[in-house]
């Protein structure tokens, strides 16, 4: 059997971040998450609730469209859940996973889709974040994805140094988001840096879904206080590295819950 294409593996990796029964949302320009959600729903997560910017609830299109906004993603849907609806749902803690794209991702898991360089005189004006800034602190987990992996994309992130990555745990939601973010692109960067090793490793990924030890149920997480922005907070949480074993890569251990990371206070 020939090696699968890297992009297919990316889709499979994203699919395996999803658990059965979760409410999952992707937005515009999210072809890879669109494929991943459909893969997950057809394989290990049949009860996943599939929401998208196209508005269909649990669509089952016979063919996937060229755009993740395409209304073919309403075919077979049991309801139309318009954009106001899913933003409101996310705001009240009702969405478990949201996929977000990014032009840049930094070591704290923050993403940039606004501008590169000075905001008013940018080197590159980016399309903007859509609702990402509202969704990132309120969704249960955020998976940031990016198919191109270059140092410019992972700004300020030193992958091979294994230095402690400081997260800000005061908001458990933000914490979970950061951690999931890091884990998500950890996987993807692994694919790009050493694809043959990644291919071997990925075959060992167990079917069980990873569990974030710091994730909380949507109704119980606390939101960050605006008087103390995340970036200015003291770092009281660290983990030695986002564990590959969380995803069964290079290890027989499957659960993130068994990793050595310290849970937030």
């Amino acid at each position: 059997m020939s090696e699968p294409a890297v992009v297919d593996l990316m889709a499979v990796c994203l699919a395996r971040l999803l658990r059965d029964g979760e409410r999952v949302l992707h937005g515009v320009s999210s072809l890879l998450p669109m494929v991943a959600v459909n893969v997950a729903k057809r394989l290990h997560a049949p009860n996943l609730v599939y929401l998208s910017v196209a508005g269909g609830v649990d669509p089952s299109p016979p063919r996937l469209p060229w755009s993740s906004t395409d209304q073919r993603l309403t075919v077979g849907a049991t309801a139309i859940f318009a954009n106001e609806d899913f933003y409101d749902l996310c705001a009240r803690g009702g969405i478990d996973v949201v996929f977000l794209g990014a032009a840049q991702i930094d070591r704290a898991g923050r993403i940039n889709t606004s501008a590169i360089g000075d905001y008013d005189r940018p080197k590159v004006r980016l399309p903007g974040g859509g609702g990402a800034a509202a969704i990132m602190p309120t969704a249960g987990r955020i998976v940031v994805w990016r198919t191109q992996h270059t140092p410019r994309v992972f700004s300020g992130f030193t992958f091979f140094a294994h230095r402690p990555i400081s997260l800000q745990p005061h908001s458990s939601a933000a914490h979970a988001a950061c951690q999931q973010t890091i884990l998500g692109y950890f996987l993807l960067i692994l694919l790009s840096r050493n694809s043959s090793h990644a291919l071997r490793s990925l075959r060992t990924i167990p079917r069980s879904k990873p569990r974030c030890p710091c994730s909380t149920t949507p109704s119980t997480y606390s939101r960050a206080s605006p008087s103390q922005p995340l970036r200015n907070r003291p770092s009281t949480f660290s983990m030695s590295k986002p564990t590959l074993s969380a995803y069964g890569i290079g290890s027989s251990s499957a659960s993130l819950g068994s990793s050595s990371s310290t849970p937030p206070p």
């Binding site: 910017v53 196209a54 508005g55 269909g56 060229w66 755009s67 395409d70 209304q71 073919r72 309403t74 075919v75 139309i80 318009a82 954009n83 106001e84 996310c90 705001a91 009240r92 923050r110 606004s114 905001y119 974040g129 800034a133 509202a134 969704i135 990132m136 602190p137 309120t138 908001s171 933000a174 939101r223 960050a224 206080s225 605006p226 008087s227 922005p229 995340l230 970036r231």
Partner: protein, 153 residues
């Protein structure tokens, strides 16, 4: 209006967003000023002569835009009798009193989609992207596209 989230983002500072204290929980909440455009132009599947309008499939932001704007122009694939709306009033997305004008524009969303009536015309979009690199090309393309959309009907 209050908006959940935004914490930790540079966007509130960049946009000058302010917070208020939620009188019930004591938490600070970001609030954004209302967007109040003069006009919303909505392309719908069906409208009647009074301005009632309905969309099949997903309305995306049509509902919000119709409420935010001071005036609404509806462009419609089909003009139907008011009786059609009366049979299923729950399907009416924009009621007539919010609508300033109705325009009968079959294939009005082309080359984008008006699903399920028609899907995105990817060939036409690609041609537009190629032609729109310079003003002369764009002018020629628009002139040609006008005829093309008539043919496509």
């Amino acid at each position: 209006m209050p908006v959940a989230g935004l914490w930790g983002s540079d966007i509130p500072a960049q946009s000058g967003l302010k917070t208020v204290r939620d009188p019930y929980t004591g938490r600070e909440v970001y609030v954004v000023p209302a967007l109040r455009p003069d006009w919303a132009v909505l392309h719908v599947h069906e409208a009647d002569a009074q301005g009632n309008a309905r969309v099949f499939g997903s309305p995306f932001w049509d509902r919000s835009m119709s409420r935010a704007a001071r005036q609404v122009i509806v462009t419609a694939e089909r003009i139907v009798d008011t009786a059609v709306f009366q049979r299923q009033p729950e399907l009416t997305l924009v009621p007539h009193f919010m609508v300033a004008a109705v325009v009968h524009t079959p294939r009005g969303a082309w080359p984008a989609a008006c699903f399920p009536d028609y899907e995105v015309d990817h060939t036409a979009v690609r041609a537009y992207l190629a032609a729109s690199r310079d003003p002369a090309g764009l002018r020629a393309h628009l002139a040609a596209a006008d005829g093309a959309s008539v043919v496509a009907r």
